[in-house]
Symmetry: C2
């Protein structure tokens, strides 16, 4: 919606005034060959904890672009802690979920294996790359972390006591998210949260029962129409952000 800065890159270095940051071969290629950057061009840098820094292209060598860090342009600020736990879906749509969840402010992406999950392998490195790219484009100062897939049962077995769960159940028994989240006491709103989204075809009854048995679980309804898993994820994150997060 808003205009973007021309170039904005995530790096894993500390960011300090006057430092020379050498970009990875991939980022160097992107900046030098795709964006055709020239010495002196402005670039924004962020690393997830030092805010955003204005930098400029200092040297363009083969396979390595160097940036001079000039000054901090945005301070780091705290963000809500929100895990999206979701059953992996096919490739194009998992890319999409990683991108949109990043735009919408999720802090952690956790693929879960369920009884009806039929995706064998989850390319978490590809999800992470999608998350980095989306964070660069949406002016986030952080990049969501991505975990290896875990069985739903194991995730629930070691669930942190203080982490709330927003569970979008398909049986329409829940309140609207709007109502359910409004009613919560402030300390629960401010807790770390997770949104749990089922696979296409839904969780089975034992899985649904296990999620609902967690005393931190808030069951919400996403309405009478059947949502695909990726749509449900985006809808749920939006509702959570507006009611409990930083929107």
């Amino acid at each position: 919606m808003r205009k973007k800065m021309p170039h904005r890159l995530y790096v894993e270095y500390p960011l300090l005034k006057d430092d020379l940051v050498e970009l990875s071969p991939e980022q160097s290629h992107y900046l030098a060959n795709v964006m055709r950057a020239q010495p002196g061009d402005a670039v924004g840098l962020f690393n997830g904890h030092d805010g955003e820094w204005a930098a400029e292209v200092a040297q363009i060598k083969k396979k390595c672009v160097g940036l001079r860090v000039i000054c901090q342009s945005k301070q780091q600020h705290s963000e809500p802690t929100l895990m999206l736990a979701f059953a992996p879906i096919k490739k194009a749509r998992i890319d999409f979920v990683a991108q949109k969840a990043t735009e919408l402010g999720v802090s952690h992406l956790q693929p879960i294996l369920t009884h009806r999950t039929n995706v064998e392998r989850v390319k978490t490195d590809r999800m992470q790359a999608n998350a980095v790219e989306a964070a660069e484009q949406c002016e986030r100062l952080t990049v969501p972390t991505v975990s290896e897939p875990i069985k739903l049962g194991e995730l629930l077995a070691y669930w942190p006591k203080d982490r709330m769960i927003m569970f979008c159940d398909e049986d329409l028994s829940g309140l609207t998210a709007h109502t359910a989240l409004s009613q919560l006491p402030e300390e629960q709103k401010a807790s770390p949260w997770a949104i749990i989204i089922g696979p296409e075809g839904g969780f089975d009854d034992t899985e649904r029962a296990a999620i609902k048995a967690n005393t931190n679980t808030i069951v919400v309804s996403l309405g009478p129409r059947v949502l695909r898993a990726d749509t449900a994820a985006i809808a749920a994150i939006s509702l959570w952000q507006s009611a409990v997060g930083d929107w």
Copy 2:
């Protein structure tokens, strides 16, 4: 999320017990060749106003499958009136908006031409086809209508007195949607609504002023991160449905 019926088709015929419905060549091809339906197979039919009907494959001829209508399986019910007015974006993402908006319950898709719109032609027939397919898959009983593009100024000039506007402004001046929509009197919540989403790069100042000048406009914020136009549309529809719609 929930399990889908195996075949579910939108038709433009009235639906009456014992009628024989002849499908279009495209739907016949889909059912006979893609889904490999056999005589006697169950199919659900809906037409936007007669509810959903159970039918079965009665005859499979070259280029024409005939279905026998058996009985009404779901009654038609009223749905909220929600227009999504959005600046067209490039092809893959406009398909996506048409699909997701349908899943999320939008009743009318209205492409708008803005000062920063750089899409020349909008394939409204393609948008309509995407909407039909999504409605078939998400168990909706209706299909959103799709209008030809209109200039934002013209749309606003003939704005119906009773249609509310949810405007997701990028300057962060609005309340959260959660708060803004909760505060509305019931008769405004129950009005027809439109959600207006700007182009990539945003509306310009005169356009934003024109939207805000409408006395029916509620300005809401979608948070501090930059959302792409398609993400903003899905987020806004979700928030509206949960607070004011039928979720």
